[in-house]
């Protein structure tokens, strides 16, 4: 479909169907049925197989008409795209629609206290007993797990195989007695994450994603989607700016819940956007050493945008060149965030000792200084990204492993 056709067809469809007095879920079911909830998904999975260019037109029409789209916030996107890539027809039918309508919120259950960077070392156990998977173990860093209806779970199903081969990927119902989510407070005072304890929790046999033992391969799909999100950053518009009506209220509540854990995410990226203004207002811009550090920061930040655009253009042109843009972009985001925190500190001087609403930018600068350490850890540490870049892009040899052979014999925490 050409951009003009899409614009015309979608506009006509919206004019005929959009009704802000409907409930959010009713409206989204209509969207799903019409194929406008996720037009970039394949035709057989509620979509239309649209390209990024075609999607840009769709998003533009939705935005200009002030129409509420499918649910996108939070970790549900990770679940949806992984199910799209690896689910069977029945799973796609069953799980994707409630993701799009917002009926089901999702969380990610990958990291464990004993396996952080070494995600494949997970020791949460899943055993097939009487036709069901029984899960026992503890997960950590689970955003929004306390609101989630479902979780994407990596658990060990075979302890005699080498570690990467003994994992399986499950879709687990979070609303059951064997699953308990507890908030985890961070050094910046927020509690965006949870610990999740699973005690004889149950997963139906048909909720295994892919085959038994394919958990690691499928998890890498999820992780690469997650890394792309880090490099891209987040920016969602509040529906309250868009329109009035019950559906906007409902949508605003959904976003508020889903986005609450992310309120400090712009701060962990360093708030480069505030640098020039603060330097000018405070007069720090007259200080030569500050100017040098600002120039370094603003150069890096601009170059990172340009490099990301180049990588996207390469992907569009179908180049086979190996560019794990996710890893390079994520490593770059850490470097930029650290430099931004450094420059904000130079601009503040002793005021950097203060925090809270009375401090610079109503506390945002203080929050930046104590949130930046997260960006080089979350979603794969800088060190892991460097391993990925050096091994997969540069083809440098892998380090000798100490974790081959049956998992049960490997040293672990």
């Amino acid at each position: 479909m050409s951009p003009e056709t899409i614009r015309q067809e979608l506009t006509e469809w919206i004019d005929a169907n959009w009704d802000p007095t409907r409930s959010l879920i009713d409206w989204r079911n209509i969207l799903v049925d019409a194929g406008w909830a996720a037009p970039d998904w394949p035709v057989e999975s509620f979509g239309r197989g649209f390209s990024a260019e075609q999607m840009a037109v769709v998003n533009d029409v939705f935005a200009s008409k002030g129409v509420v789209g499918a649910a996108q916030a939070g970790p549900r996107r990770l679940a949806a795209e992984t199910i799209l890539a690896h689910g069977n027809a029945e799973q796609k039918q069953r799980f994707l629609r409630p993701i799009l309508t917002g009926e089901h919120a999702w969380c990610q259950l990958f990291s464990e206290p004993g396996s952080g960077s070494d995600l494949a070392g997970a020791s949460t156990k899943a055993e097939m007993i009487d036709g069901k998977w029984i899960v026992n173990g503890q997960k950590v860093w689970n955003t929004s797990a306390h609101h989630a209806d479902w979780g994407i779970l990596v658990a060990r199903t075979d302890w005699d195989l080498p570690k990467h081969q003994g994992l399986s990927y499950f879709l687990i119902n979070m609303r059951q007695p064997g699953v308990e989510a507890r908030p985890l407070k961070q050094m910046n005072g927020h509690a965006s994450f949870n610990e999740v304890f699973m005690t004889d929790a149950e997963v139906a046999a048909e909720d295994l994603l892919g085959a038994e033992g394919e958990g690691w391969a499928i998890a890498t799909t999820t992780l690469s989607i997650e890394r792309q999100g880090f490099a891209r950053g987040r920016n969602q518009k509040s529906p309250r700016e868009v329109g009035d009506g019950p559906i906007y209220e409902e949508f605003a509540r959904e976003l508020e819940i889903a986005n609450e854990p992310y309120s400090w995410y712009p701060q962990r990226e360093g708030r480069v956007d505030l640098i020039m203004k603060r330097a000018m207002v405070s007069g720090a811009i007259k200080d030569s050493p500050v100017r040098q550090e600002m120039a370094k920061l603003l150069s890096m930040s601009r170059a990172a945008q340009l490099a990301a655009q180049n990588a996207a253009a390469k992907r569009r042109s179908g180049s086979n060149e190996v560019v794990p843009a996710g890893s390079i972009g994520k490593l770059g985001a850490s470097v930029i965030a650290r430099q931004a925190a450094h420059v904000h500190t130079m601009i503040s001087g002793a005021d950097a000792m203060l925090s809270g609403p009375e401090s610079a930018e109503a506390g945002l600068i203080a929050e930046t200084l104590i949130s930046v350490p997260a960006i080089s850890i979350a979603g794969g540490t800088d060190e892991i990204q460097r391993n990925i870049i050096s091994e997969r892009v540069l083809g440098m040899p892998k380090e000798q492993r100490m974790d081959t052979g049956p998992f049960r014999d490997i040293k672990r925490n």
Partner: protein
């Protein structure tokens, strides 16, 4: 946004292929020991077969009529292969100065000679540190030029000198025949032996004024030269990076390739990131010279390319260990070019100051 067209990539191929066979490390080592510093036959081939000397010079003046993007591609390949010759002095520096400052009649007379390679020129600046200092030392009164330019590239082989000097009505462009009485060109000992440097002094030299160089024209010239130099540096940095990564895959210590150690892998990954950024900024700067957007981009490119070339050079030696510090190994050839280019046409800190002035004005 900076994407090359197929034609531009094909142009790169032509230049790269030529330099691969005509600028080998054996050639570089031979030429850097000569007083001329370049191979006249190879230069003529480069001008006549590839037509490179006129890359960015408009067709009306006998050039190819390409712009800063293609010039950047050529410069990048020259940097990668460490080409020894008067291209940067004659085509880039003198060429841009004439294009931005010479009168129409003088452009029509002089540029075709540069574009064809029949003459070699260089740009004589009394400061290659800072555009704000240009014209402080070299002065013209009653058509007589006096003063000293301590660092001039390729003056010893130039057929004519394009000199920026301060006259009665500000900064002017002057044409000087190097054989004129009162011109003294002393070849300096250069840290980078692949780019020859001279001290050029003028004592009551008869010179012809061929144009005016307003402050804005000088700024533009400086930006254009800096972007071309940044491309040259990116090419050199890429060569050092690629060769170093390959070395870590074959060099064995402690029973394993040294590239399997994380200490080295992580350094290479960081360098790749810095290189990708500097490359993106540099390519973008060439596109901005065409469109006139983002005036800060030229200095951004020069500062980032300078820093990444030096980091690549330091890493290239460090990861090779002792062998990297020997004369026999080739890395030092690029290291010295990296160090000289870092400060040529403005150190990184000067360019960072320049780019911040632009960003301040924009906000």
């Amino acid at each position: 946004m900076s994407e090359y067209t197929e034609d531009q990539e094909a142009f790169r191929e032509v230049v790269a292929k030529f330099l691969q066979s005509r600028s080998t490390t054996a050639d570089i080592r031979r030429l850097m020991e000569t007083s001329e510093g370049y191979d006249a036959d190879v230069w003529q081939q480069l001008c006549q077969e590839v037509g490179l000397a006129g890359t960015h010079i408009p067709e009306e003046y006998g050039g190819f009529g390409f712009g800063p993007v293609e010039l950047g591609i050529a410069a990048e390949e020259m940097g990668r292969h460490l080409y020894c010759g008067p291209f940067f002095s004659s085509s880039v520096m003198a060429g841009y100065a004439l294009l931005n400052g010479a009168s129409e009649a003088n452009k029509a007379k002089l540029l075709p000679e540069l574009a064809s390679g029949s003459k070699i020129a260089t740009l004589v600046l009394d400061s290659v540190d800072n555009p704000g200092h240009v014209g402080r030392q070299l002065r013209v009164s009653d058509d007589l030029l006096d003063g000293v330019a301590p660092i001039v590239t390729d003056a010893h082989v130039a057929d004519f000198l394009v000199v920026l000097a301060t006259g009665d009505d500000g900064l002017g462009v002057y044409l000087v025949d190097p054989d004129t009485d009162g011109v003294k060109i002393s070849v300096q000992q250069a840290l980078d032996p692949t780019r020859k440097l001279s001290r050029v002094s003028f004592s009551g030299v008869t010179s012809t004024k061929i144009g005016h160089m307003a402050e804005s024209a000088l700024g533009k010239t400086w930006d254009q030269m800096s972007v071309a130099l940044a491309h040259e540096m990116i090419g050199g940095a890429q060569h050092l990076f690629d060769s170093t990564v390959e070395y870590t895959k074959v060099r064995v210590q402690f029973g394993r390739p040294i590239g399997s150690f994380q200490a080295l892998k992580h350094r290479c990954a960081d360098l790749l990131l810095a290189l990708e950024w500097a490359k993106a900024a540099t390519q973008h700067a060439a596109f901005c010279l065409v469109t006139g957007d983002e005036p800060e981009s030229a200095s951004m490119a020069k500062a980032m390319a300078s820093d990444v070339y030096m980091e690549a050079a330091r890493t290239a030696i460090q990861l090779r260990g002792g062998i990297g510090f020997t004369w026999e190994e080739d890395t030092h050839l690029w290291f010295k070019r990296a160090k000289a280019s870092e400060v040529f046409l403005g150190s990184p800190h000067l360019h960072r100051e320049r780019l911040l002035v632009h960003l301040e004005e924009a906000s």
